[in-house]
Structure formats: C-alpha cells, structure tokens
Amino acid sequence: MIWVDLGERISKLARNSVPALLTLLLLFLTVMPWRPIAAPLAGSLVLVSIYFWSLHEPQAMPAWLCGAIGLIGDLLGVAPLGVGTMSALLVHGMANIRRRDVSRSGQLTVWGLFALVSLVVALVAWILASIANGGWVDMESAGHQFMLNIAAYPILAYLFGRTNRLLKRS
C-alpha cells in the first residue's frame, strides 16, 4: 500500500514539475546564440508559459517559482535585474484573478485576457527598465514585446494544452 502511495506521489511530483521544467527550457532556448527567433521574442515564450500554467495548473506554478524563473532570466541578462522577475510575478498574479472562471472560458477569451495582461506587463516592464537605466528607454521594445506575446500565445497554448492532456492521462 505504501509503495503504491509512493509511486503515485512520485508520478504526481513528476507531473507537477513538467510546467516549470518546460518554462526553464523555453528560457534556455531564448538565450541560445543562434536562435531562429528575433531578440525581442526572448521573454515572450517564458511569459506565455507562466500565464498558461498559472491558469490551468496553479499547483505546478506557484508564485515563488514564477519569481525564481524570472530572476534566472534576469541574471542571465535577458532584462535588467528585477524587471523579468516582476514581469513573471505580475503575469502570475493576474492569471490568478478569478482564475477558475477564466480557465473554464473559451480559448479566444483567454487569449484576449492574456493580451490585456501583456499590455499591463509591458507597461510596467518599460517603467522598471527606465528606472534601472536611469532614463526613459525606447518604448518600441515594450511594444514589440507586447505584440510578440500576443502572437506567441495561440501556438504555445495549443502545444501546452496537448502536453497537459498527455500529463493528465499518464
């Protein structure tokens, strides 16, 4: 009986760690030297991942983990220190507003809400990056980030959805 319990626990642990590992992998992919994707996309993939998993599998994506992933990104140099951390936390926080209602609603609604979340995050990141740089930075970067977030969402959400179904079946 104990063994069954242990096995179940291990498999649950494994399932719960997939979202975090996937997000970290995306982070690594975005800092690869010869990436197929343009520079401003770095970060978008990670934010989409954090939003998706915070929304659909919250126990696998707690706030501290989001912060930690953001911090690793910052330390890797993707954004000024703290900016990525804050972005990740904000995405997580906003994904948790009326989470259950949102996660049950249609794909298009979720996409629209994510666009809203992205807008807020892009603005906050722009202000924080300006504070970190000691002067206003170009708003263009924030704009790119915002648009890329929206563009990246459907593709990644589809892939994550498939992954999630696979995980639940196992």
């Binding site: 690594f28 690869m32 030297p33 401003p40 220190l81 936390l89 504070i131 970190a132 970067s141």
Partner: protein
Amino acid sequence: MRSTSIGAASPLKLWFHRFSFVLLVTTAFAFVLIGRADVAAVSKLRMWLADLIAPVAVAVSQPVDATRQAVSDVEAYIALRSTVERLQRENDELRLWHSTARNLQAENLALREMLKMTPDPRASFVSARVVADSSSGYVRGVIALAGEAQSVTKGQIAMNGVGVVGRVQEVGKNVSRILLLTDINSRVPAIVERTRDQAILAGNNTDLPQLRYLARDADIKVGDRIATSGAGGAFPSGLPIGEVISIENGRIEVQPLADLARLEVVRIVNYRLTGILKRELDVDTAGGSGRSRTSTTGGVGAAD
C-alpha cells in the same frame, strides 16, 4: 487535475498567499533598485550563475548546432559553383590589395623609423564561443565561453572577423558577459574615417546605434565608415565598427559591420592600453598562447 489541495482555501491561507505575493513583488522591485546601484555582489552572483549555466547552454545548443551545420553544408554544396567564382574574383582583388598593403607597410615602417614613433601596443586575444545571447528588448549582450581563467578582464574589446562587437562587461571564472554596441548602456569613442571627425557611438537597444556629439560643422555622408577613435584610452584607435546608413534630422544611424544578432565566436582582444599587466609578466601572447587557450575554452580557431 484531481488534486484536492486546491479545494476550499481557508481565509487564513488566502491571506497568507496574498501576503507572500506582495512580499515577492516588493522583493522584485528591490531587485530593480539594487541592479540600478550596480552592486558588486549582484555582478558576482550573475557571473556565478552564468558559469553554472554555460555547460547547460552548450548541451542544449548541441542538437541545434548539428542541424544548422547539416543545413549549411547542403546549402554550401548547392552554391559551390557560384561560391568558387565569387572567391576567384575576390582573390584577384585581394592580391592587388596585398601588394598595395606590402608597399604601404614598408613605407610606413620607413617613415616611422624617421619619426622615431613608438610602436602600437601589441595585442593578444582569446577566441571564445558565444554560448548565450541574452539580447532582448531591454538588454543587448552575449555570454562568451572565456573568463578569468583565460585572463579576460573587464573592459576588453570583443571583435569578430569583421569588426568591433562590444566590450567585456562582467567576468566570471570561465565565462564573460559582453555588452554589445547596440545596448543602451554602450558608449564607444568613434571617428569618421574619411573626415577624422570625433564622435560617440551610443547604443539604444535597437539594431542601429547612433553617432552622437559630432561637431556641428562635420561633413558626414551615408556610407561613411566609422572606426574606434582611441579617445579616453579604453579602445585602441582604428578598429572598424560600422557604416553610416541614415542621417535624418541630426540622427545618424550606424550599421555595425559585425552581424550582432548571429554571433558565434568572438575574439576578446587585450591591447593592454591601461597597462594593467606588469611588464615582467609581459610574455608575447600575440599568437601562441592566444591560440592554445582557444582549445581549452572550446572556442573555434581564430579567424585571422
């Protein structure tokens, strides 16, 4: 999920969750302020993490590298004929340049002899593989696989085969962070090659850094080449940087010669301009050890 843990959350638990979230957000904001202050401990932590992550980045990039290699092999094979033709043309041209250069070199040497000019400091370099490109909307930088162990120090210049790429910003044990020319914090003393006008090349997080503080009467045109000026002593003079590609309302944009978005190998050059290295340790590292270090850093051969 069949999990029961997210069933009924007690008010206390909810309060705790909110409190911890606010705490995390506050911490993140504190990070922004700490980062602004440029604390040495943060830099250390950053490089420690980079040291830790470099092998992972290498491992992750392996399959991608292999695929890319295969694709470029096929492409090269297809383009073989036209490549040969192009190279032959280039070769003819370069031969001409070669003889011109030799003549000039001899002449230069003779003139220097007459002037009793001190020779330029000799340079040593380390070729290092780029393992991570952390360029984003807010930062432009790469992490290269060479650090303290390869005697890379802060402030050294990074180049690739065609021009200046940036400058070493932080150094870890086996890795270093290079601030690219395009980063908003990058400032490089530059000179317009044709007119010898001095200016500062300032990055702005876009692909095209701007030439600033150019004299008002300076005569600058699209197509002018920009090189390092050596003012301030941080850069040696005459290293090629880029070309002016647009001039609009006093906004002069420069296209760097090096393709900063596709950096694979950088040469970190030490011109010993600041005289950090002691004379008694001054072994000739121009060729030999630079190359031997290359093998230990996993870098690819020097592109001279």
